[in-house]
């Protein structure tokens, strides 16, 4: 089985390169078309090195949400987003009162600018229904990620 080298490029550095270009990137194991996130050198379950990088359309659904109240700071949203391509990631929903973010809300990615200490990273903003309908705008996995879907999207693809 081909095991990729880590001498030239790391999975995280490829992800960050895409972030710098304003793109949310993820991987797909080409053995069985399963989406993979967080980025890895080898695919989970199979250990396969046949991982292909793709750029997400950036459309997803809020799977869960909380609001953190750090001392002397404005309330901060932290959410888990299910992307239409079939992977889940932690992020933040912006351009909305943090307490108004709702499970099931449709969202779209935007790259948060970086600084000397932190590379750019993906955040999300609320989406209008017509713009973000999974049947219209999402990728092939859209139908599986309806709001209320309880289990991790990556499990659904592997027949768990």
């Amino acid at each position: 089985m081909r095991v990729p080298s880590l001498k030239e490029r790391s999975p995280l550095s490829v992800y960050l390169e895409h972030c710098r270009k304003g793109e949310l990137a993820y991987q797909v194991c080409t053995d069985d078309n399963t989406p993979v996130f967080f980025p890895r050198a080898v695919s989970p379950v199979t250990g396969s090195g046949n991982l292909e990088w793709r750029v997400s359309k950036g459309l997803g659904t809020v799977h869960s949400t909380t609001v953190v109240y750090y001392k002397n700071e404005a309330p901060l949203n932290v959410a888990l987003i299910d992307l239409d391509e079939g992977f889940r990631m932690m992020s933040r929903v912006e351009d909305i009162d943090p307490m108004q973010v709702r499970i099931g809300m449709r969202v779209k990615v935007r790259m948060h600018p970086g600084n000397e200490k932190q590379p750019p990273y993906p955040v999300f903003i609320p989406l209008l229904v017509e713009e973000g309908s999974p049947r219209r705008g999402g990728g092939g996995a859209g139908a599986q990620n309806h709001p209320g879907s309880a289990s991790h999207p990556s499990l659904a693809r592997r027949g768990n």
């Binding site: 967080f38 949400t65 953190v68 109240y69 932290v78 888990l80 309880a150 289990s151």
Partner: protein, 383 residues
Amino acid sequence: MDLERGSVAVVGAAESDLGQVAPDTGIVDLMAQATMRALDDCGLKLSDIDAVLSATTQSRYAPMLLAEYLHIKPKFLDGTFIGGSSFMSHVAHAHAAIQLGICEVAVIAYGSTQRTISRAMASAREYNPFETPYRPFLPASAYALAAARHMHEFGTTREQLAEVAVAARKWALMNPVAWEKEPLTIEQVLNARMVSYPFTVRDCCLVTDGGGAIILTSAVRARTLKKKPAYVLGVGEAWGHTTISNMPNLTVTAAAESGHKAFRMAGLKLSDVNMLSLYDAFTITPILFLEDLGFCPKGEGGRFVADGAIAPGGKLAVNTSGGGLSYCHPGMYGLLVMIEAVRQVRGECGERQVKNCEIALAHGNGGVLSSQCTVLFGSETAL
């Protein structure tokens, strides 16, 4: 070959000083103190100990530090670190080592000074490029995400979460060494300072100093000692995920698997259990564990704990020490979860003693609902 039900027992159990300890107290001071108290408890000597198991956030070398402090020469050392449930895992490992004759007398110990030196200093979070930039307040925010999902899917309410805190407080008021000394109402839980929605400060475990130690040996040796042994009837370990972004289902933990393994080894049913010690890091966790261990159907945990069901005088005796929410929570809490279960089985809980407590279940949780371990302790009668 597998672990043999009842072949190993806890013979000594003791807490270190709890709550707030003197400046410059080391975690190993606390571990050594607890170890000596646990030895007094069973009448064994320091020189009898030939296995040391521990895990702490303040040192990666925990078992080695304890061995060095007390000049123990262990035949078996274990530093398995899987979060707060590590100690239940240590019970399983010590059990195997004793059963195989690798060692005879094992101490499992823990110590933390997180209140004195601050939580941030005691448990520095590791950097995760896919979580840290978003600044979740870990571990609270991870559990809050699970709670929010449970509320969405099953209609669990903040009031029901608060019932868990209110019940814990009622038990704590019967425990002389508990940190909290005042009654608590649902209103007070809901109106306390918000930490990570839906959790207020009162939905979250305490931040205290503390530690403990338990001594395990073979059942044969246990019967020669001065106190009634608490036999290990069943133990089960399970892992589900490590980071909250990768939890397969936010409302289902691996406790279903660990509980099943423990009950199968013990040959027991849920109705055999007289007392439950469930790791209450946050108000959502006893709700999830009651469901996943099978005491109520999935999604019914909030309704189950309503109206004082797990408070003194309720349907089920849960966290009789007052729990991590009101008694003590020194960062990693699994050892103290087991100490209360052992004490209940030995009939030592005074005012909060559950009548005829022959079997107690101790369930530990580690990381962000990540590792789940269940231990069933029983008296001689239960064997």
